[in-house]
């Protein structure tokens, strides 16, 4: 589903602030893989997701989604394959527009947008049903401006928007990190439910090691712009946080563990 070959990206090249964020990264995802991504600050996790999403062009290497080479495809065109949820709950929704309008824009992602009414009666009925599944009481607030919702509600709506038309690949960039623990757990549970139901191929960055072990069928660790650990199946299921840290230390030469990762 996703094939990344020898991906390289250096920010501010040729200056004293030059930072190699991706350093020859290889990654292949099979159809239906739910991969959790961990790594210290500056390991290149978000850079990897942004590269796949097409926020900027990589310096070298290729990215293929479902057999299509998207390396040079602009961000908005690539969006037809992707569903994205960001760390900042403000980022994924249009605050001054209604919930139904946001969902409508997302539902028509990848289609030719037409000069017909954006939110029709049938759409409203459908949105009401899917919003009811969130159990946040949003089904009766279709006409509410998204900007009036809480961070957790907005993130749940963004998740719905990302998955509404079954993307080939779901990109989650620490999408629960900015939420309080209770809301974070709820959004994560919702993520699990949707990914499993629609069998979505997913890349989820998290800084929570327990979450990284508990979710998905495969776990990768990044360090200095590369994948240094890649575990899946039974091996991943039986992992403990201690083993993970040991694995990490071993693979990275000891330098990659920082406070933020140990915290959880």
């Amino acid at each position: 589903m996703l094939k990344i070959r020898d991906l390289q990206k250096t920010f501010n090249p040729g200056t004293i602030n030059a930072k190699t964020a991706l350093d020859g990264l290889y990654l292949e995802l099979k159809d239906g893989d739910f991969v959790t991504v961990i790594g210290g600050n500056g390991a290149g996790k978000s850079t990897l997701l942004n590269a796949v999403a097409g926020v900027w062009k990589p310096d070298f290497g290729t990215i293929e989604i479902d057999g299509v080479d998207v390396t040079h495809m602009p961000e908005y065109k690539r969006a037809q394959f992707l569903g994205r949820v960001f760390q900042d709950p403000m980022m994924g929704t249009a605050p001054d527009m209604e919930i139904a309008e946001n969902l409508s824009i997302a539902e028509r992602r990848g289609t030719k947008r037409r000069f017909v009414r954006g939110v029709r009666r049938a759409d409203r009925e459908r949105y009401r049903e899917i919003l009811a599944e969130l159990e946040l009481g949003l089904e009766d607030r279709l006409s509410t401006k998204v900007g009036l919702l809480s961070g957790g509600q907005r993130q749940a709506v963004t998740l719905l928007m990302a998955t509404l038309n079954r993307p080939k690949l779901l990109l989650l960039d620490e999408h629960t990190a900015a939420l309080d623990p209770k809301t974070a757990a709820k959004v994560l549970e919702l993520t699990d439910r949707i990914v499993r139901r629609d069998k979505l191929t997913t890349l989820m960055i998290t800084h929570n090691m327990k979450d990284a072990i508990a979710h998905g069928n495969r776990l990768i660790m990044m360090h200095a712009g590369r994948v240094i650990v890649d575990v899946s199946g039974e091996e991943k299921k039986n992992l403990t946080v201690e083993q993970l840290l040991a694995l990490f230390n071993q693979a990275s030469g000891g330098g990659a563990v920082n406070d933020r990762m140990v915290l959880n």
Binding site: Y76, F86, I105, G110, G118
Partner: protein
């Protein structure tokens, strides 16, 4: 008494500037771009309309041509901004300067083009204010209805989201650059349409028409929204409010003239009105937010 006599004229001219403010509302409020093209494109609309009518072209064709000319000006600003990466405010200023030369050449190197109201069936003219008001109400209503239909289509929603959250828009497959160009084209098209009406109303197009137009439009927008957002914060009510703001602006304008203020100071007055409306929300938040010295829980629950 003199004030009452001035009212119909103020209403007619206010409606024309209200139409112009609708155009600026699209760029300023919907696209979130302070588009300074409009000072030029309103004049372009006036010049195109006046020259075509003088050349014997039917009035309605001249008006449509003015709209198209304004839309092209918007496209130029849009491309400066999106294709060439020029900051939007500078892109607008550049186009505005370009338009000064363009407008001069449209006027054939002169600074003024007159329209003879007796030889042509004009849509609006200052000699017949009641008729002008009715005509302008129809034009404004048609514009609002067209925009209302447009901005609730699939395409229209993405233009709104482009201004509201470009990041989200791109992630949802929206071509943000294209949408900005389209939005600026529509905005400046409407502004030029207002310019065409202004030229007819006054019976002439002047190279200096439109200087400071953006400020008048912003004043209309702020006056209008300060009322309409309190009534119902939706699209149509906002647009009606903006037009109302234009009328209020012109009534105040005429009132101030009658009070004996020298017309030299009117542009300054416009600027001050806009500055006040922009400053009030900031000042409120910065200096007048109540700060309580009590802990939020204090005095509530004794066990807290």
């Amino acid at each position: 008494m003199a004030f009452l006599y001035a009212l119909p004229g103020a209403a007619a001219e206010g409606l024309i500037w209200g139409l112009m403010a609708i155009g600026v509302y699209i760029s300023f409020k919907i696209l979130d771009i302070a588009d300074l093209t409009v000072d030029g494109s309103i004049c372009t609309g006036a010049c195109v309309c006046a020259m075509l009518i003088a050349a014997g072209v039917p009035v309605w064709v001249s008006v449509i041509a003015a709209f198209i000319a304004g839309a092209l000006a918007g496209v130029v600003t849009g491309l400066f901004h999106t294709a060439l990466g020029i900051p939007s405010i500078l892109a607008g200023i550049l186009t505005q300067l370009i338009l000064y030369s363009v407008n001069l050449s449209i006027l054939g190197g002169k600074s003024l083009a007159a329209i003879d109201p007796r030889a042509n069936k004009l849509i609006v003219h200052m000699s017949d204010n009641p008729r002008s008001i009715v005509a302008m109400v129809i034009v404004v209503a048609a514009t609002i209805i067209a925009l209302w239909l447009f901005f609730y289509t699939e395409v229209g929603l993405t233009i709104k989201s482009t201004g509201d959250n470009p990041h989200m828009s791109r992630a949802q497959g929206v071509n943000v650059s294209l949408n900005k160009v389209v939005g600026l084209a529509v905005a400046n098209g409407i502004v030029a349409l207002a310019g065409a009406m202004l030229a007819q109303y006054k019976g002439s197009a002047n190279i200096n028409d439109g200087r400071g137009a953006i400020v008048i439009a912003l004043a209309a927008i702020f006056i209008g929204l300060s009322v309409s957002l309190k009534i119902k914060p939706n699209f149509v009510v906002s647009l009606i409010g903006v037009v109302g703001g234009g009328i209020v602006y012109y009534i105040v304008y005429n009132f101030v003239i009658l009070l004996g203020l020298k017309t030299d100071y009117l542009k300054m007055l416009s600027a001050i009105i806009v500055a006040v409306f922009l400053a009030v929300p900031y000042l409120k938040a910065e200096y007048f937010t109540k700060h309580t010295s009590l802990h939020p829980n204090a005095g509530g629950d004794a066990n807290a």
